[in-house]
Amino acid sequence: MKVELRHIRKRFGQVQANDNVSLTVEAGSIHGLLGENGAGKSTLVKILSGFIARDAGQIRLNDQPVVIQTPADAIRAGVGMLHQDPLDFPPLSVLDNFMAGRPGGIWLDRAQARQTLQRLSEQFDFDLNPYTPVRHLTVGERQQLELLRLLSLGIQILILDEPTTGISAAQKTALFAALKHLAVQGKAIIFVSHKLADIAELCDEVTVMRHGQVVGDLPMPCADRQLVKLMFGRELATPAKPPTRRPEVALQLTDVRIATDRLAIKLGNLTVYQGEVMGLAGLEGSGQQFLLLLCAGLLPAASGTVTLHGVDMTAKPYTDYLQAGVGYSPTDRLHDGLIPGLTIQDHMALRAPSHRWFVDWQTMRAKAQHAIALFNIRGQPDSRVEQLSGGNQQRTQLALLPVPLNLLLMEHPTRGLDIESALWVWQQLIARCQGGTTILFMSSDLDEIMQYSDRVLVFSGGQLSAPIPTTELTVDRLGEMIGGRLETDAE
């Protein structure tokens, strides 16, 4: 089915998220929607799927105008959307998730739904057990389930919002195969991404958005440089990482084993040097996060010792780690890192080591002002953190790290940031490394790992590899290792 969006407008407060956007997607094609974070891609597809009400504009399917005000309208019109974070019900089983919202009579027909699910799974070669609760599934599997559910509803237009974030290489291959298959069947597919490589691999045509407007429509394939220029309005240079590693040992793990109720993993011995950047690669939940939590003093080791700059830190409380200059920066900024409702200067005061009773607000205000200037945060000392954009929240979080910072542990340092903000973040991090800070970071973005790490640790199937210098590694080899082939072949 052919989709046309005509002159779509949507405003959120001060921000014009979509400004007279028009887009045409032919039946049987895979159409990429490219743009940095905040360019208005998600808003546009959420309007098409009925999730957001538009201020103005028209939606036409097969040259007929249609009314889409709610997701229910969209599904009826044949439009289905896979959201960036799977929208499903974690405690319910795969089958119940598949059935929730399906049309039918008063009673549930589980047997018939199970057959439909099975038939579709076989068709796409997905392996989903109908009785597993969805909370035990990986993001990739949850995505597969949503895809099958949408297809079973008979949708003709499929929207995917950043579908390759957080899924494995194998799941990505399976997803792309399925999408190509669906396009051949005549479905129109809209693929939203900020990753050039994914767009290049999959799409027949691409529309680039910037600041809420369409800045270009190009047939694929085309040169990356051209797309980048459209996305940012100029070409971006990615900095090469200078050598920052020093000979002194910063972190030493000896015979460490971690055991939680979800995973037990033997970390063994590990030596990390001052100024070094160590990237942790692996599928989500393979144990990278546990290593970070262990080094932050937030997860006790089941056995073994942790030494920081020659001091035994095993079984010491979190506050001792903070005093030793260990900083931990979690992924979910508004959930784990910052405190919604409090201002930037409140955060500064919370961080200020003080044995006094009363807060000196004047000093705190000055401190906040200083941090705002230094970290280029768009905000005021009394701005509440939830009012800041994602990039500015990450900057605030960096401003809150302890000084001196000996060891920095980061989960997904640039997740959800646009490329410009991501570059800025890494500039700051590299500057810290030059000052002697050691960084351990986990990321699902293999390019990020390859580009900024000195050495890489790969987590797979409850094991981890020896540290490998990035000079001896390629993205493909890294992908293989994440997929389970940890040992280098002997020959």
Binding site: L298, H335, G337, I339, P340, L350
Partner: protein, 342 residues
Amino acid sequence: MTRSLYYQTAALLLSLGLIGGIILLAGGSPGQVMTSMGAGAFGTPDRLARVAATLAPLLLCTSGLLFTFTAGIYNLGIEGQMVMGAIATTFVMRLMQDVLPPVIVILLAIGAGAIGGLLWGLLAGVLYVYGRINDIFAGLGLNFVADGLALYLIFGPWKKAGVASMSGTELFDPSLWLPTWGQTDFSPIALLLGITALGLTFMVLRGTYFGLQLRAVGHNLRAASLLGIPATRQLMSAFAICGGLAGLAGALQVLAIFHRLIPSVSSGLGFLGLLVAMLIGTNIWLILPVACFFSLLNVGSLQLPLSLNLESSLAGIIQGTIVLFAILGRGFSQITTKATST
């Protein structure tokens, strides 16, 4: 700001209209009710003194609740904390009244009340923090337990010589009553305690690191602990402080008002404190006028059954309706502000 004021005023007017309707429904006349309540609260110095006597424990409870609210907890256990304070006070007085001089007994009893409430508050904290039990039910559950204990003591071990009754334990000797103003119920010491508690609360929450950390814990517990705040300790402190202040209020109920332990010794002032705290939101300075007004209603309504044959629970209806409409009015002003800004 003006918009919010407009909605709050509208909310107040609407709630007054509704209250008038309820009075008519019960066969009363709003005008007569107002006169009667006014006379009930202001009519004689004695009645005005009772207002002050109600105000003191109410201020203590509300101050305590500000700590728990700041830490993001609904401490519905405050009633039980008052009762435990009253029980602890009674216990110490029964034990010491024939042994020590009255002044010392009173001081010890006040201290015991605070400690009793504090421990009961800490218990709610332990259930919430370590037992991971919903704060509302930990508190409500402990209320039942405290009430049960009070009933058991009144009808069991501490029963009045001769026959046990709902009227409570034996009256204490007048030398053990908190000194009052002339022949009235008004105890300057109690009111002083209440106002001091309020002042200290204001200072601690606005100016200290403890107050800031409590706010952080209340908004985002996990992030607060990752920032290095001793979150568990601060949560428990909030429970303990609130319990302690409620226990103090319970002690005052025994020492200054009832002079004995009775079955509902808290007079519902703990829950009334929750209403006050909900009504004022973040405007701490509003506590004093609101608490005064609510105390006036409580005392004024006592005349209703005698003068107009209406139930005295009208005070609770007025208080509840005002708070309900204030919350709804706040909601209206928020959604319309949002609608015009987007």
